[in-house]
Symmetry: C2
Subunit: 475 residues, 2 copies
């Protein structure tokens, strides 16, 4: 980010009095150490580092509320974080201030098998939650690659491989506890599966990236573990064949639970990193949930569609360990890609397009990557029209990043031109602010800004994120 | 509504200049006729009438925008409406002003089979849409009993019998065109199936009941018509048996498409109105969607659960005409109930509770109805925990309404006490404003009000709805 875009004056510095109040509240759960601050200076895959002035580790909603009240009194920016796995610079502190890390708020407060819901603190991670649920016949399906925190996933409207069947965080949160900038705690939503009572604050906070308030508790919908699960891989000679198969599978109404595309480079990476032993060709990874009969029926229909589009070697993985190995390999796509080029930094981006435009979107970016001579595997949750490009860049060759940026920009422009979005699941953060207006129009973004201004009048909640700074009036 | 709660001064009157500008824009699509105004003085089942000062019938978003700009300039309240089927007083004009009826904006603008989405104007009704889609293998599942407009359904976050499988309006809208109070037109959302780009304005406007802006166009998700459909009815000796069966069906993971509960009074009403010929007992109506094999499997599992809970005579309706007769009878529950007592007015209310509390919620209200000696059939989308009570009241016996209110209040109090909502799908309107704070807390409602104040600073958009007037500061 160009430092010139930083708002002046930087208001982040924490005064002695403010520090004293925070310290009285938190004791050694407030850190000024440079090493700790450096950990909250950047997320995954974000190239620049803006450390906060201090880091707080609250244990309860009440503590977060008190922290917010203090920070508001002293005009200190607040940057909430969880597992630190965000990809668009969400947790950096370009104006300094206090990083509020919720990772220690890791309690699963209330599992209700009868209502298929669970109340968790924001720091609970998705793997921790599913581990805890494993004996109750229930699971939480949203699975971004990383072992992210539920609070972070809600804040960025995360999704993952199961979203094609089970929806995203937007579809799986029943209610939130939110600490507002002045410390007021509100609860949104409820336990009913649906409600028509008043404005939908839950969805307003989901995806707001910590810019309106801090999510401290989340009530999630859970799903019953399917009686039967079948996974499959299928190789294609061309990207076009794989994508066309996906489009036909979706239109056929097969309730596929996962359908992931990996281009040849990504398959090579996963073969090397996770010893998958697949042919070096574009692939689909699929999963079907249901009864034994229904899973078999779904797989048969999908296999037929794949074969019609040149798919070969439809491989079943019915044993749990084989399925787990497959999806672990898929979730490790980022690290696998990184390993293709020792010393590389990976710049991961995502777009999402209407399904009818997926073919052209993927083939165009694939051609652009080849033209620019880049190593950039493509992998995606293609049932939703969502895909990622993992640019593997030599950090010592800035010109490579410039070439990657050309590809990246064209990919986003094409996504927006066909009614898609500049980000299906990563969020805006610092990286995609310039595309927000292009996607939603200046008037719609003005409405978003008006809401921000109303709910965070001092602009203390994760400042600079989502919105580009507005030009200051000339003196 | 107590007239004392009306805001003073009533700002509704339309000045001569304002009328002249609106007339220049709309010609004879602006009406001052008392007969027309009376049609927009009340919705269905709302007991009081507050006519607007005039009614506008725009044909395009651009016209709605111009109307809004004029109304804002002259400080005239704007009350949008569609098919006029809302149940909580949403379309009445307690402060006068201009009713803006969008029923003539009835064009289906763009059906995309490849993306399974459709762009419609707000006045398109759900039946019109499904009629138009019938040859394309697609359908739009949300079905409130009435043939409501899509704009109205979005504005009230409507749902209906299919929501248990396909979700509510909150889950099936991809994006909106919204006219803001000053006439600015914004588009929210997009055509991608998911997005993490900025604040979720789409969900903010869905369910906002016309209090933030006027929804003029909606892009909806469509669903593939299932290859096979099977419906069934099943009688139970007790309410408890029927509800327990529903809870077990939901927990078993059967992807039931519809599961409706009708108590004995409602079955009697539907038998009389729609000649169903069912035994006068509590019933479940079910529907299953999928492949032939999957529908058969689902039905078999559900029948077994029903039998375990005392269900008798699991009756299949496989022929389309039989199924249609069944669901038409279900959708006519309101009129059927009304017919049980000639001359009665029907006061329909809904709550939604967590599934584990459904049994106690339904049996408690059933007992209250009996205790008060009222005729009030119960019917509900019980897979979601949502049910309705249709109080059939003699309009000449005010004391009956008072007894009904006792039952109604206790039902809502119990729903809120167990984490449910005061309305699953009807909305707040004028009727349920007092419960909004009880459900969401004063602080959360203050956040909703802050958003209202920001996006509608002159309080011109459907004033009085959702929020009780705030006490005026004492002079």
């Amino acid at each position: 980010m160009d430092p010139a875009t930083l708002r002046t004056p930087s208001s982040g510095a924490i005064s002695q009095q403010c520090h004293a109040e925070l310290h009285a509240l938190l004791g050694d759960r407030l850190s000024l150490s440079q090493a700790i601050r450096a950990q909250y200076a950047t997320g995954e895959a974000f190239p620049e580092a803006y450390p906060p002035d201090a880091v707080a580790f609250p244990l309860t909603t009440a503590e977060v509320s008190q922290i917010a009240a203090i920070c508001t009194r002293y005009r200190v920016p607040m940057i909430a974080s969880g597992a630190g796995t965000s990809l668009e610079g969400h947790i950096t502190a370009p104006e300094g201030g206090l990083a509020i890390n919720l990772a220690r708020m890791g309690r699963i407060l209330d599992v209700s098998a009868d209502n298929m819901d669970v109340l968790v603190e924001a720091g609970v991670t998705r793997e921790q939650l599913n581990h805890d649920l494993r004996h109750q016949g229930l699971f939480f399906p949203i699975d971004p690659g990383a072992n992210a925190s539920i609070g972070g996933m809600a804040s960025t409207r995360a999704s993952g491989t199961n979203a094609v069947r089970y929806g995203t965080m937007a579809h799986n949160v029943l209610g939130l506890t939110v600490v507002q900038p002045d410390g007021t705690v509100i609860k949104t939503g409820g336990r009913a599966r649906k409600s028509a009572a008043g404005y939908d604050l839950t969805h307003l906070y989901i995806g707001s990236e910590g810019t309106l308030g801090i999510i401290t508790e989340i009530r999630l919908k859970l799903h019953g573990l399917p009686a039967a699960i079948g996974a499959a891989t299928c190789a294609f000679d061309t990207i076009g064949g794989a994508i066309t198969a996906v489009q036909q599978i979706m239109l056929s109404g097969i309730p596929v639970a996962r359908v992931e595309f990996l281009d040849e480079a990504q398959v090579r990476a996963c073969n090397a990193w996770s010893q998958l032993g697949l042919p070096d060709k574009p692939h689909l990874f699929l999963e079907f949930h249901g009864s034994d009969a229904s899973v078999a029926e779904q797989a048969e229909m999908a296999a037929e569609i794949a074969a019609d589009n040149g798919g070969e070697g439809f491989q079943w993985a019915t044993a749990a360990e084989d399925r787990n190995r497959l999806w672990k390999a898929r979730h490790n796509a980022y690290f696998a890609s990184k390993s293709l080029r020792p010393g590389a930094v990976v710049w991961s981006s995502d777009v999402c397009v209407p399904l009818s435009h997926l073919h052209e979107a993927v083939t165009a970016v694939h051609a652009d990557i080849a033209r620019e001579g880049l190593l950039a595997p493509i992998v995606g949750h293609v049932g939703d029209g969502n895909f990622h490009v993992l640019f593997c860049l030599d950090p010592d060759v800035p010109e490579e990043r410039a070439r990657a940026k050309t590809v990246y920009q064209a990919m986003i422009e094409r996504a927006l031109a066909c009614g898609g979005t500049c980000t299906g699941e990563h969020g805006i953060g610092l990286n995609k602010r310039e595309y927000l207006i292009q996607e939603h129009s200046a008037d719609a973004v003005a409405t978003m800004r008006a809401i921000k201004q109303t709910l965070d009048p001092l602009n203390l909640m994760n400042p600079q994120k989502i919105f580009l700074p507005q030009p200051q009036p000339q003196p």
